[in-house]
């Protein structure tokens, strides 16, 4: 495993897997996910592929604990995260970082954006003291510098978020998710709007994170990207997980005929 960067916290609990067990979910009458079971380990990259509207984002939002599933369990190791107290769930939730399709940056400087998760993890007294200190000068935050360095934006800390290009903004969003030192990273189509250069930077940061021991789950409809960066691939179709396996096996010899058709670019609705 690569050397632990400065922004990784040694104080966090060390969950090794995050799992969905027989999870079904939906909105009003519509079922989006049906009986999905999936486990992600730290130190691996899992790509979830499937056509648009097939439930990839919903699956990631369930993993990020935005809401409880209609049925089934979401667990860290063996702990059911929706049967523990809200405080315990918050602690576990803070082991997860998430990057969305849009950067969703706050109207603040790059440094303030990237330090946001770190500040949330401090007590109110510390937060207020740091807020007051920031009025005078920006105190150095090694974890922020390290996270920005990972996405190649170490010199952009003082820039306003609004002045960034789309690619730079998404890289800052990645650094923001990375800075608090999560155990798992959830990436929802993080490069779908980016040019090849920014895509390459994000993919390199994903590889660095995986090498550092993070579990990475990336939802993508870019087959080539999944093939490039994933250790395993899960194929989601109409809310059902039809196949999970090693990347090479999925792309060369899938068990399910629909997987083969999807990889070949055929319409499988």
């Amino acid at each position: 495993m690569a050397q632990r960067p400065a922004f990784r916290s040694s104080q966090q609990s060390q969950s090794t897997t995050i799992s969905l067990s027989n999870v079904s979910h939906g909105f009003e009458e519509r079922t989006v996910l049906e009986n999905v079971s999936l486990t992600v380990e730290r130190g691996e990259t899992l790509a979830i592929i499937g056509p648009s509207g097939t439930g990839k984002t919903t699956l990631l939002r369930l993993l990020a604990l935005f809401e409880p599933p209609r049925s089934g369990r979401i667990t860290f190791d063996s702990t059911d995260l929706w049967s523990v107290s809200a405080d315990d769930r918050l602690t576990e939730r803070r082991q997860i970082g998430m990057v969305f399709q849009s950067p969703n940056l706050f109207s603040a400087s790059v440094r303030q954006n990237v330090s946001y998760g770190l500040r949330l993890r401090q007590g109110w007294r510390t937060r207020l003291r740091q807020w007051a200190a920031r009025l005078v000068r920006q105190p150095p935050m090694p974890a922020v510098e390290a996270a920005l360095g990972t996405v190649g934006l170490a010199d952009a800390a003082n820039r306003p978020a609004g002045s960034l290009s789309g690619g730079e903004a998404q890289r800052v969003a990645f650094a923001r998710a990375l800075a608090p030192g999560p155990e798992f990273l959830l990436l929802d189509e993080p490069t779908s709007d980016l040019d090849p250069r920014n895509t390459a930077v994000i993919e390199e940061a994903i590889e660095t994170s995986r090498a550092d021991g993070l579990g990475v789950v990336i939802a993508t409809h870019d087959m080539q990207q999944a093939e490039r960066i994933a250790d395993r691939v899960a194929v989601l179709l109409d809310g059902r997980l039809i196949e999970v396996g090693a990347t090479e096996a999925i792309f060369t010899d899938p068990d399910d005929r629909r997987t083969q058709r999807f990889i070949n670019g055929e319409l499988i609705y």
Binding site: F66, F100, N104, S107, Y116, G117, P160, G162, R176, P180
Partner: protein
């Protein structure tokens, strides 16, 4: 006198007279200063209270779903257009001897004026804040939550994102309060002490009275003060909220 005033003198003449009057006459100066103090204390108190009530209501209505939500929004919007004299009348009933607040003896007091301005400003602060916080992108709230934020953290991030709109809401509330005549006239009574200092006389009620009595230079001076106050507040807002990202 009024006819002469309109025919013979220009606005610049009145302004000049007003400045000379303010500089030379200690009695008028004390009178004007006390009116400014009453206006500011009543309006600022009312707007602070309106913000303390209106902002949490806006956040709650904006980000939770509950039966009757559309009715609540409609009531807030209706409240933004409440006629001030009607509010004054209702507050006067409430604080009069037979009213629910009769035991507090608030008739013709600044407290009653604060109540009436609070009733007028709160829907404005709430309605404009509601528009500001609901215009914040859902993605930003998702990001705050996904970074490990609690409900309070998400609310604070939303307020921070909507800060320009919220400042506008508070300003709009202050504008509604400080420029209002009808209700403060009814519940405050436009009273001054024997020494000429204001008890419940505000800039607006004084302008109305002075203009009626033909003391246009005083009315003009008070009007200038009112406009200057609004300019100063706007300047502060620009200074404090001017940093853009």
């Amino acid at each position: 006198m009024i006819e002469t005033a309109f025919v013979g003198l220009s606005g610049a003449d009145y302004l000049f007279d007003a400045i000379v009057l303010f500089a030379d006459l200690p009695f008028e100066r004390g009178y004007i200063e006390s009116i400014i103090r009453v206006s500011l204390s009543v309006s600022l108190t009312a707007v602070v209270l309106s913000t303390l009530v209106g902002l949490p209501v806006a956040l709650t209505v904006g980000f939770t779903e509950f039966p009757g939500k559309r009715l609540v929004v409609a009531l807030i919007n209706t409240g933004m257009g409440l006629p001030s004299v009607v509010v004054g009348l209702l507050v006067l009933f409430a604080v009069s001897n037979q009213g629910p607040l009769g035991s507090l003896n608030l008739v013709f007091t600044r407290e009653a004026m604060v109540i009436s301005q609070f009733v007028l400003a709160t829907p404005v602060v709430t309605g404009v804040s509601l528009a500001a916080v609901t215009s914040v992108d859902d993605g930003l709230r998702d990001a705050a939550y996904a970074m490990g934020g609690t409900r309070l953290d998400v609310a604070l991030a939303t307020i921070s994102e909507a800060r320009a709109g919220i400042v506008t809401a508070v300003l709009a509330g202050l504008g509604r309060a400080i420029s209002e005549v009808g209700s403060v006239l009814i519940v405050g009574g436009n009273i001054v002490r024997a020494d000429g200092s204001s008890v419940t006389r505000t800039l607006t009620t004084a302008i109305q009275l002075e203009a009626r009595q033909g003391r246009f230079e005083i009315a003009l001076l008070l009007g200038g003060v009112l406009v200057a106050l609004v300019l100063v507040i706007n300047g502060l807002v620009l200074r404090l909220g001017g940093r853009r990202y």
